[in-house]
């Protein structure tokens, strides 16, 4: 499996508090990674840094084999900042779908219009093509009834489902899913997990799912990464589906059993 994203020695702090300390992370094509950790462990921060929505203090991020963020170079004395990597981050972000914990949908646009916004105005699809693709995707997610509804008229689980569909509409190579299941009932969590699974199966895209949903970890995740104190401390590889690791990860700690990962969820 080809490595699609690799983050090395990520350091990130906010308001003087270290959030990520030397975090290393690898995502491979078609792989589903569950990112677990206690609340406040830095999962959202890690995902936002990987999506290049927040700057990192130090470290590098490679996407598709190219360094897209390099915060290891010394700060230029003349410019007062690090030399920038010659890379259009907008183009990179187009290939990374991000599902926020809160849906972040435009409330004055119907779900369908929210879905076609990116394809039409970023990918420059024809509007009719985008509408067709959105209708097809909603059908796959068993959410065809959402198309003409405004987000404020929907319950939270349906809004988050629409947000997952919006991220998938961009046909990304990698989808980063923040903890969309937070605060939902078990049956609602299962709905969202099924949606992510369906998108993964159709597109065979890489998924990083920050979650504490044990069923997802057991049934879908190829790898389980545990984030604690800003560092990815444990990685379980090829466990969920009884697969063996595709390759050893020299930079990461040894694999662990999923039960151990699930145990961290209940702390």
């Amino acid at each position: 499996m080809t490595t699609i994203l690799r983050a090395r020695r990520l350091v990130k702090s906010a308001a003087g508090r270290p959030i990520l300390r030397d975090a290393r992370f690898v995502v491979r094509q078609g792989e589903v990674t569950a990112l677990v950790g206690a609340p406040g462990a830095g999962r959202t921060t890690l995902l936002r840094c990987l999506a290049m929505l927040d700057p990192i203090d130090s470290g590098t991020i490679e996407f598709g084999g190219h360094v897209v963020v390099d915060a290891t170079a010394p700060v230029s004395r003349w410019r007062g900042r690090r030399p920038r990597v010659r890379c259009n981050l907008d183009n990179v972000r187009r290939q990374i779908g991000f599902v926020f914990q809160t849906d972040s949908l435009c409330v004055n646009r119907t779900v369908l219009r929210n879905l076609i916004e990116g394809p039409v105005h970023v990918l420059k699809w024809k509007r009719s093509e985008a509408i067709e693709a959105a209708a097809e995707l909603l059908g796959i997610l068993d959410a065809a009834d959402l198309a003409d509804v405004y987000p404020l008229d929907l319950p939270p689980v349906r809004r988050r489902l629409a947000a997952i569909a919006r991220a998938a509409m961009m046909r990304p190579d990698l989808m980063l899913v923040d903890d969309v299941c937070a605060g939902l009932e078990p049956e609602d969590r299962a709905t969202l997990v099924r949606a992510v699974q369906a998108i993964h199966e159709i597109r065979n895209l890489a998924v990083v799912f920050a979650t504490r949903d044990e069923s997802f970890i057991r049934e879908s995740a190829h790898r389980v990464c545990t984030l604690a104190d800003g560092t990815i401390t444990e990685v379980a590889t090829g466990i969920a589906r009884g697969e063996t690791p595709a390759e050893e990860l020299p930079e990461e700690p040894a694999p662990m059993r999923v039960a151990a990962a699930a145990g961290t969820l209940r702390r």
Partner: protein
């Protein structure tokens, strides 16, 4: 109270005053149009400047923010008297811009001449400038607050989809700011209509000014007609604003009202 005082309505007094009231109404309309268009344009520009995060605009941001705060805190009547009496050169500057209207006078009838004279007078220029500045300050405050209330999550969602800065501005920041600012800007426009009669204080022959002069002793019938004219204008405007606020396009819980008008 009027009935018990034994007042007898005599609407015939309106016959003599009606032509002057008509001219005054036209001047009021021009005044309101100038104040709302120029004041809103200046206010939106100032609001964007104050709300912007651009480093290049930082030296202008603080003076602009201070100006907006100070002017919004001054009652329009005080601002009007200050501009008219204390800063006549500013009013003359605007009057010079309007003076080309006087060239139309040879081709105009008596009624049009009265309106042109009013529009090219210094009191009109003072009123337009002072009320325009007052409206600009209120609109700028609304735009600044509206821009700040756009949730960061919406911008992040756009950035996560790979939107460029310009696309993000065009598809997210500007529409979302406009949605939040629109009710406040509409209320500021209504306020500008209500401020318009203040122009009479410095001698503008607008609706109120014309009524005052034409009626001499300010009979109740003329006062009632002026009040009815403003009510006829403002009641539909407030109904329209309520409908706009309830529209789906403005479905937001964090719309901004002008601070002084909230």
């Amino acid at each position: 109270v009027i009935a018990t005082a034994g007042w007898r309505w005599d609407w015939h007094v309106l016959d003599a005053a009606l032509p002057a009231l008509g001219h005054g109404a036209i001047v009021t309309v021009f005044l309101v149009m100038f104040v709302t268009i120029a004041g809103s344009a200046a206010g939106i520009g100032l609001g964007v400047l104050v709300a912007s995060r651009s480093g290049a605009l930082a030296p202008l941001r603080w003076p602009a923010a201070a100006l907006v705060r100070v002017v919004a805190a001054i009652p329009p009547i005080v601002l009007l008297l200050a501009v008219h009496a204390a800063v006549p050169s500013a009013a003359d500057w605007l009057r010079n811009l309007l003076l080309p209207l006087a060239d139309l006078r040879p081709h105009a009838g008596a009624a049009e001449t009265a309106v042109i004279d009013a529009l090219t007078s210094r009191p009109f220029a003072s009123s337009a400038l002072a009320l325009g500045v007052a409206l600009a300050a209120h609109v700028a405050g609304v735009v600044r607050m509206a821009a700040r209330r756009v949730p960061a999550g919406l911008r992040d969602a756009g950035r996560a989809q790979g939107m460029s800065r310009f696309t993000l501005l065009r598809r997210v920041t500007v529409p979302e700011t406009a949605r939040r600012a629109m009710p406040g800007v509409l209320r500021a426009w209504v306020a500008a209509i209500m401020w318009a009669p203040l122009a009479a204080v410095v001698g503008t022959t607008d609706l109120l000014g014309a009524a005052w002069r034409g009626g001499g002793a300010w009979p109740l019938e003329i006062a009632t007609a002026v009040a009815a004219a403003f009510a006829l204008l403002l009641i539909p405007a407030t109904i329209f604003i309520r409908r706009v606020e309830r529209s789906r396009w403005l479905a937001t819980s964090d719309a901004v009202a002008p601070e002084a008008l909230a």
